[in-house]
Every structure is written in C-alpha cells, then in structure tokens.
C-alpha cells in the first residue's frame, strides 16, 4: 500500500503553548484512519496544518510524494485533499443544492465562469446523487438555515465529498448527528469511499464509530501521537484509556 | 522664512481641530466597532450650536469674555444631547449586524442630521467672528495670526491630554479600554457594556462637536461642512490606526501639515495629497501607525 499522506516532525505552537509536537505519521492510500484524543490534544490543529490553513513551525507534509508544507488550502484542495469542519462551514444564505452545485462547479474548474447557468441538468443530477447518501436529497431546495443541526453537519461532509478527493479529512463528522443516523451515514460513506479508493482520516469522539469504521487509530495526547495501531489493540491500552477518557 | 512657519502654524491649527474630530471617531470605533459616517455631522452640529449660543449670548448684552464659555457650552450640549439618543436608538439595535448594514445606518443618520441642522438653522452661512475678533492679532514671522487661533491650539491640545489621562486614569476610562480589547470578556467580568458604549459615543460626539465649535468662528458655518470633515477624519483615523488616540493625534498632525504644505507649495494637488496618503496607508499598512485591530484581508 503506497503512502499517500505523510507528515514528518510536524510542530506548531501558539504563543507558548505547544499544539502539535513532532508528529510523524504515514497514511497509506485507501486506509480509513481514526484520530482520537481529549479536547485540546491537537487533533484539529493537525488537520488545519495538513490542509494548509496553518503553517507549521517545523516539519514537512508530503502528499503522494510531493511536499505541500507551505501550500494554502486552495492549492491543497486542488491537489485532491478535501476536509469537513468541526463547526460546519457552509453557505448559509443558499439552498442545500446550491451549496453542492457550487462545490461541483469549483471541482470542474468553472468557479470563475461568469456566463452559463450554475444549474445544468447534468450538474443538478450529480448534486442530488451527492446528497442522497446523506439523506439530504429531499431537502435539496430548502435554504440551509432551515436544516436541523445534524443536517448542516452532513451537508458539510457532503460538500467535501463532492470534490471527489483522493484524501478526505473529516473533523468530527458525526457530532450533532442523531445516533440513529450516525451509523447509517457512516456505513454509506465508508462504503462509497472504499469503492472509490478514497483515503479517509476522521477525527472522532464517538468510540463506537471509531472502532466500527477505522482500520487504524492515531491517539493524540498533548500534541503528540502516543499510540498508532488497530482500534482494538490501541483502545485496550490502559495508558491510552487514561489519556483519552480519564 | 515665512513659508515654513506658515506651514507649521497652519498645519498645527488644522491638525488640532482634525484631532478632536478624529479622536471621537476612533474612540467610538474602538469601543463599539462601528465606523460612524455621521461623525462629521456631529462636528457640524457643534459648529452650529456653539456659534448660535455665542450669537444668542451676545444679544443679552452680557460681558464679552463670557462668549467663550457660551461657545463651549454649545458644543457640550450638542454632544451630550445627540450622543445618548443616537447610541441607544440607532446604534445599539444594530450592534450584531453586518458592517455593511452599520455603515448604511450611520449614513442614513448623516442624511437625517444634515436636514435637522437645516431645519433648525436654515441654509444661510453663519459668520460669527466675535470670539475671533475680540482677542486681536499677533505677528509671527511676518504673518498675521489671531490670538484666537493660538488659543484654539492650546484648548485642543489640552482637551486631548485630558481625554488621554481620563481614559487611562479613571475607572470609566479603563472600562472603555476593556470593552475595546474584548467585549465579551468585559461583559462576563460584570462591566455594563451598554453604558460604556453610550458613554464612549457621547464622549466622541462631544469631541467632534468641540472641534466644530472651536473652529466655528473661523469659518462660514453652513450646510455641507460635515461632508468634507468626515472624509478627512477617516483619513486621519486610517493613518493613525483605528481605535488609537495617539494615532489620531499623529495622523492629524500628518494630515494637517501635509495639507498646509500642499496649499503653500503645490496648490493643484492640495486635496489629493491627503487622500493619497490615506490610500497609501490602506495599502501598505492597513492597520495604521498605531492600530492594533486586525484588518480583514485574505
């Protein structure tokens, strides 16, 4: 399995506080990796660093062998890495479908085209296909402001997925989603990602979700990765349990 | 030898009035994060109220020197009445709205105040030279200056120092600094943010009105003086940095001297130079000389 995403000695501090310290991980293509850790352990900072939102103080980030350390989010996304956010980042004055169509247009390189409608038959159809696994297709014409919290979260994930990335980073994809929906959505999502060979890295607090879907877990604690391996093994480790739960 | 002296004196004279207006603007922005387009109207209001009170007082036949307190009283009244009214009725409801909306609301206020002044005082210009004439003139480097102008510089400087001390030295002033730094935390600490905002806005209004009143006897007080005042105040505040009093002082000095120099040396580009400096600052150092507040740029 080829390494698709790799960090080497990745370090970032804010003021005097070390958020991510000397993190070196390698993720193989097609893996489904879960990132766990207590609040403030550096998980979201890690995602922000990898996707270019923050510049690391030290270390490198490699994507398919290419150094992307200094790249801004725009470039990182264009290369094939997409992400969803802990607090959903969506277009609040638009409808659900409009949100997705914009993502599709961006992916197709047409984001700057000032003529020709955004709404084309082909694009609409694809948009609905993107929304379907998340149960959002029936809400396509509704303004985002009318969606319940869980729906907004799912839309955020859908927007990342619409970009057809090679690597998908999800920051707490199921938080705010009802327990009933969680597994249905994760089932569908993981299946689609597997079908397409997409590498998934997701930050998660729900241990059930992590154990069910992740083939591998990274445990963050105070900015470092203290454990890396299969969920059953890692989560059985008493030190890990103390760090994550205690 | 006269030209540099003229530039310096004219520049400082210009600068101190600008400082008073800009100080008010920057104070309000710091505490409330609202850039008040109507601030120039408060300056005009002060000019009208101040000169009007002088005229009214002189009609009573009282001792001449008391027209100066009358002038100041006008400014105080103008600021103290409009300040709380505007802040509570207009600005507080829109605190959480987009910047665009806030700009438009203050622009509406500007339109309204323009006509309010016309309704009260008519459209004919006021020439109230009494305070200016009473003190006589003095010759400096061969140019005639009025003692009033020099007095104006002193009063404005004094006010600036007073305001600066008040902000640092009084509890109220420190609360303003707290709210400027972080509104949420200040509220959490028990500071009555609403009251601080009203106070800050009123203080800003009084400062602007004072600037207007002091300069009233030197100009033709007529509709429209607010229009140029606000753009110049913006320029000063941008140059000095939003939310900074020191910045307002330094910015006012730069603008004042630049304009005085341009008037003497390159009259064609007189107006343009000030705005050019503003543009240059916005481009190369958007937060201004002393500004700490973040400029939104991506």
């Amino acid at each position: 399995m080829a390494t698709i995403l790799e960090t080497r000695a990745l370090t970032k501090s804010f003021g005097g506080v070390l958020a991510v310290g000397d993190v070196s991980v390698a993720v193989g293509e097609g893996e489904v990796v879960g990132i766990v850790g207590s609040n403030g352990a550096g998980k979201t900072t890690f995602v922000n660093l990898v996707t270019g939102y923050l510049k690391p103080d030290r270390g490198r980030i490699l994507y398919a062998g290419q150094d992307i350390t200094a790249h801004p989010p725009r470039q990182v996304t264009r290369l094939g890495i997409a992400r969803s956010f802990q607090i959903p980042q969506i277009y609040t004055s638009l409808t659900v479908l409009e949100n997705v169509l914009i993502a599709l247009a961006a992916r197709q390189g047409e984001g700057l085209r000032p003529w020709g409608p955004l709404f084309t038959r082909a694009r609409e159809a694809e948009g609905l296909r993107v929304l379907e696994p998340f149960g959002l297709a029936e809400h396509a014409s509704r303004p985002v402001s009318e969606l319940p919290e869980g729906g907004v979260k799912l839309l955020d994930v859908a927007l990342a997925g619409a970009l057809l990335p090679r690597v998908l980073l999800l920051d707490e994809p199921t938080s705010g989603v009802s327990s009933k929906e969680k597994f249905v959505v994760m089932d569908t999502l993981v299946r689609i990602l597997a079908e397409r060979g997409v590498t998934a890295i997701f930050v998660e607090h729900d241990m059930e979700v992590v154990t069910q879907y992740a083939g591998r877990i990274l445990v963050f604690h105070e900015g470092s990765v203290i454990a890396d391996g299969a969920p059953q093994v890692v989560l059985a480790d008493p030190e890990v349990r103390r760090a994550v739960i205690g | 030898m006269t030209v540099p002296v003229v530039i310096l004196l004219d520049g400082v004279l210009y600068a101190v009035v600008l400082f008073l207006v800009a100080a008010g603007l920057t104070l309000v922005y710091g505490v409330m994060r609202i850039l008040n387009i109507a601030h120039g109207s408060l300056y005009a209001l002060g000019a009208y109220a101040g000169t009007f009170l002088v005229v009214a007082y002189l009609r009573t036949g009282g001792p001449a020197p008391l027209m100066y307190p009358a002038l100041l009283a006008g400014a105080l009244l103008a600021g103290a009445i409009t300040g709380p009214l505007v802040e509570r009725l207009l600005l507080r409801p829109i605190y959480a709205r987009e910047e665009v909306v806030q700009l438009l609301v203050t622009y509406s206020l500007f339109l309204i105040l323009e006509d309010v002044m016309k309704l009260i005082w008519g459209v004919n210009p006021f020439y109230v030279a009494g305070p200016y004439a009473l003190l006589g003139t003095v010759s400096i480097a061969g140019v005639r200056y009025a003692w009033y102008q020099l007095l104006l510089i002193l009063v404005a400087l004094g006010t600036g120092i007073l305001v600066s001390l008040a902000i640092r030295g009084t509890r109220l002033g420190r609360m303003m600094i707290a709210v400027t730094t972080d509104r949420e935390i200040s509220a959490a600490l028990g500071i009555n943010v609403g009251r601080v905002c009203t106070l800050a806005f009123t203080a800003g209004a009084v400062l602007a009105a004072l600037g207007g009143a002091l300069v009233g006897p030197l100009i033709a007080v007529a509709p429209g003086i607010s229009v140029e005042a606000i753009v110049l105040a913006f320029a000063v505040v941008v140059i000095g940095g939003l939310g900074s009093l020191e910045g307002a002082a330094l910015g006012a000095l730069i603008v004042g001297i630049t304009r005085a120099a341009a008037v003497q040396l390159f009259p064609e580009v007189e107006l343009a130079t000030v705005y050019l400096i503003m543009v240059a600052v916005l481009l190369f150092r958007p937060r201004g000389l002393f500004g700490e507040l973040e400029v939104r740029r991506i």
Binding site: P73, I102 | V116, Y275, V279, L282, P286
Partner: protein, 322 residues
C-alpha cells in the same frame, strides 16, 4: 424570483411605450433613472458579495469624463464608439484598482473605495485645464449610428438610446447572477473559508466581480452624461456614491429588478422632495433607508412577495458577535 423571459420582455415593452403615455418631464426623469440604474446595479452586484463601495462615483465619472474628453480632445462624435470607449476605460480603472482593493473587506473596502474616489475627484477638480475644473464639461449631442438626432426629438432619442443600453446591462448581470461566478460571489459573502477549501480563489472572485461592477458604473456615467449634457467633478464625490448605495438599498439588491425599482424610486423621490421640501429631502431619504434596513432589508421590490409569501431575510439579520 427570476422574472423569466416573458416578464422581462413585457417590462422592456412597457418601457418602450412609456413615451406615448407619460408627460415629457416624467420621461426625462425616467431617462435619468434608467441611466443611473446601471450604477445602482453595479453596487447591488458587490452587495451580493457582502461588499459596499462608497466610491463608485469614480467609475461613474470615469465613464462620463471619457465621453466628455473624447468629444473635446479627440473630436469623437459617435455615441456607440464613445460608450464603448468609456466602458473600456472604467473597466480598465477597475481592473487596475481591483488588484489591491480586492484584498479588502468590510469598512476597509468601503473606505478604500471612498478614498480613491476622492483622489479622483480632487484630480478632476484641480486639473482644470484638462477637465474643465468646477465648470465641468459639456457633452454635445452625439451621433447615433452616424445620424445626428434632431433637436425636436432629442429627448425621445436619448430615452430610447438609454433603454437600448440599459436593458442589455441588466440582462448581462442577470446571467452573471445565475452563473457559477455569480453564485461564488454569494458564497464568498457567506463563507470565505469554504470557498478556499473548494479550491477557488476568493480574491479572484471579488476581482472579477469588481471589474464588472466598475464597467457598469462607467456605462451609467456615460448614459447620464449624454442625457444631462453636462458633467462635473462632483460625480466622483463620495456623497454621489452614497446616493447610488442608497438607491440600491431602496430597491433591494437581492433580485434583478431591485436596482431598477430603486433608481426610479430614488429619482422621483429626490425630485419631489427637492421641489416640495428642500430642507427635508435628505432626512426623508435617511429615514426611508433606516426603515428599509430595519424592517424590510430586502428592499421595496419584494413588497409584493412579502404580501404573498415568506421571503428569506436578506441580508442575514444576525451575525455571531465578534
């Protein structure tokens, strides 16, 4: 609500027959309102991106003065040539300024536009040997497609000329608003981070929109210049820009007919107010704008929609505290 081709054609037809039904002084106001509606459209375009410009007078003036100077210094006569030239110049100015302006938002964007427009105002005023200074420039009657309109029909011809150039401008913007870039602009307003995380450049979106907005501003100045016959540096003053913003809010920036409704309402409001209440017309405008902002943020155009169904509030009426 997209007017749809039928409604648009009806609107154009209505404007087409208006001269047969309305007195000539109304027609003149209407001509001006149509001409200015294009710059109001330009403002509305930027408002969609969450940006307000208090300096569009500079594009307005750029277009108008290109025509004036083109006539005076180069002896150009043909209206279409002058118009094309004017639009090119104002688009060029926008392209140049946009290079750095597109990096700003909020009040800094507004102030930067205001400041630059004041620089241009100052230049127009002071370089009087080129621009005519405070006296301004006269704009003679142009030829239209080579033909000089005769005196008697001049106003009528200018009306139809204005209509002929305004309608396509609205059409272009309507297509723009439904295009990917048009939606991107709204996306930028809602969430810049997400736009960047879709691989698109926020700066480029704003830059492209700014150029279009500048070009429209220029066209508006050109049309106004032709109709009024005289242009002055005050066109670039910030209060002129303020009036454009006001008309945009009055009519509403969310729907295509908004700027048209806003501009017409504004011209007539201003005209009546000037005439009957010279001391209170600004106050009337100010109060009207406040009422609209506070109670009807979508503008006058959507009154009919308000009566029939729920309209999504726009702009969003609350923002998380900073």
């Amino acid at each position: 609500m997209r007017p749809g081709p039928v409604l648009s054609l009806l609107a154009v037809a209505a404007f087409g027959v208006a001269p047969l039904l309305l007195p000539s002084w109304v027609m003149f106001l209407l001509t001006l309102a149509l001409a200015k509606s294009v710059v109001v459209l330009a403002i509305a375009l930027l408002l969609r991106g969450g940006l307000v410009s208090f300096g569009h007078g500079m594009f307005f003036a750029a277009g108008a003065y290109t025509v004036g100077l083109g006539m005076k210094w180069f002896g150009l006569q043909e209206a279409l040539v002058l118009a094309a030239l004017g639009v090119l110049v104002s688009a060029g100015v926008a392209a140049l300024l946009g290079l750095f302006i597109a990096r700003y938002r909020g009040i800094f964007f507004a102030m930067l536009n205001m400041a630059i427009s004041m620089v241009i105002y100052a230049l127009l005023l002071k370089l009087y040997w080129v621009t005519g200074g405070t006296d301004g420039l006269g704009i003679r009657t142009p030829t239209i497609l080579g033909i000089t309109p005769d005196r008697l029909n001049l106003r009528l011809v200018m009306y139809y000329f204005t209509l002929a150039l305004t309608a396509p401008a609205f059409y272009v913007v309507d297509r723009f608003w439904h295009s990917p870039l048009g939606f991107m602009l709204r996306a930028v307003r809602d969430n810049e981070v997400r736009v960047e995380y879709m691989g698109s450049s926020v700066g480029r979106v704003i830059y492209a929109s700014y150029i279009l907005s500048g070009a429209l501003g220029g066209l508006s100045g050109i049309l106004t210049g032709f109709s009024v016959g005289h242009i002055v540096p005050e066109l670039a003053y910030w209060t002129t820009s303020g009036e454009f913003v006001f008309a945009a809010i009055l009519g509403g920036a969310a729907r295509i007919p908004g700027p048209l409704v806003g501009s017409i309402s504004f011209e007539f409001l201003k005209s009546y107010a000037y005439k009957y209440a010279a001391y209170t017309w600004q106050m009337t405008l100010g109060v009207a704008m406040l009422l609209i902002i506070l109670f009807m943020p979508t503008g006058l155009w959507t009154i009919s929609e308000l009566l029939t169904r729920q309209v999504r509030p726009w702009p969003p009426s609350s923002k998380p505290a900073r």
